[in-house]
Subunit: 212 residues, 2 copies
DNA sequence: AAATCCATCAGGAAAAACCCTGATTATTTT
DNA sequence: AAAATAATCAGGGTTTTTCCTGATGGATTT
């Protein structure tokens, strides 16, 4: 019997998926949660660890990305199968970096889900040709206009720059002098090859580094 | 036995919902479709008419709105229950105009769906206080935090402001003096109640006036 | 130990953004 | 005809952003 857990804020979807999966002989849903924070809470307790976690990306409080990252950082021995409607690109790559074992869109059929579950249970992963092709396409695109390497502090600043705060407000919030903020700002402009703050915001957004 | 049909492009969701509903004694899913055009096709044949149609809004080819309108226009004796993740917009209002019998978000539980199904079967409608309150709130919000009325030229400028162009570049592109651009800019800031260009960009984006 | 990174800061100066108080002309409303 | 509105522009002033050339102390690498 393979244990499965679900994290999805669409409760009906969760509930009905439970019914669907529990109908299978080999699988059993041991718990469901409706946001990322709950998920991490559950997963913190070893007794709760499922063999497979079906994870949605769009969730309140903490999203699926954060859950996946947390799992990766804490080396939880759980096979994460992402199940989302974000066909959106940037997420896929980050998910892969966090070592998820499969990526399904909600537009797939129940049959394909079963396939995926069995595959993950047996081989530890599930990537269809279509998905991998799509991934490849996107990685290719990414390779060209790469995401530059950012220092921690720069990442923080980047988030703040994508708000309507002035630099002095940001400096306060980050407990830095305006000079330092300016230094990081210049560095970000250069790394992203933009000429002003709006350009930076737009690029960061298109690369999926900020959510507007 | 009450007949139910489903229209939702998320196949797993559909499939699992079928499992869930067929588990009930009183309900039976007679067909499912994955886009609006298929739905209309099915519904054109009287033999296929279900008593309740669970309808998603976001679908390819034709969306749920169009299906609802078509049903309304052709006076099909089907109780439409909208089941969607669009918590926002104008959609709710339009759906009401098309006479749908209930409006559920996918964040509700399976239990609430059962309630809704029973209620629609028995009383012909299902609107919980929460839903109606939410609807009211959203209509109210739309009224208050309305999208301000913009002159044509202001709309154009708004688009340009959401790029990395400087004002002088925008002035050139719009064949205006910088003064005029500045006047419109001030007007936009006031109408949207923002204090700088980034704030404007963010607000315009959140109101769906620009696509970043 | 020297060189290289990293995170932090200073000061100055040019450019751009932001704010304000006006004005002209043409059109539309009253 | 007078008033209101729309679309356009000028000028000048303040603040913020952007760009530049530096510097210091700590950590890491060589």
């Amino acid at each position: 019997m393979i244990t499965v857990a679900l994290a999805d804020d669409h409760k009906i979807f969760c509930d009905s998926l439970v019914a669907l999966i529990n109908d299978l002989d080999d699988f059993e849903v041991i718990w469901t949660v409706h946001d990322g924070a709950e998920a991490i809470e559950k997963l913190s307790v070893d007794e709760n660890l499922p063999q497979i976690l079906l994870l949605d990306i769009n969730m309140p409080v903490k999203d699926g990305l954060e859950v996946a990252r947390w799992m990766d950082e804490n080396k939880k021995p759980v096979n994460v199968l992402v199940l989302t409607m974000e066909e959106d690109d940037t997420n896929i790559i980050r998910m892969l970096q966090y070592g998820v074992k499969g990526y399904l869109l909600k537009s797939v059929s129940a049959d394909e889900l079963f396939h995926a579950l069995h595959s993950v249970a047996k081989y530890g992963f599930y990537y269809t040709p279509e998905i991998t092709r799509q991934i490849g396409k996107q990685i290719g695109r990414k390779a060209k206009d790469q995401i530059p390497e950012l220092k921690e502090r720069e990442k923080e600043l980047l988030q703040h720059l994508c708000s309507d705060m002035s630099y002095s407000e940001i400096a306060q919030k980050m407990f830095l002098s305006e000079s330092t903020v300016d230094t990081y700002r210049a560095s970000l402009f250069e790394k992203f090859n933009v000429r002003n703050r709006i350009g930076l915001l737009l690029k960061a957004n298109s690369l999926g580094l900020v959510k507007l």
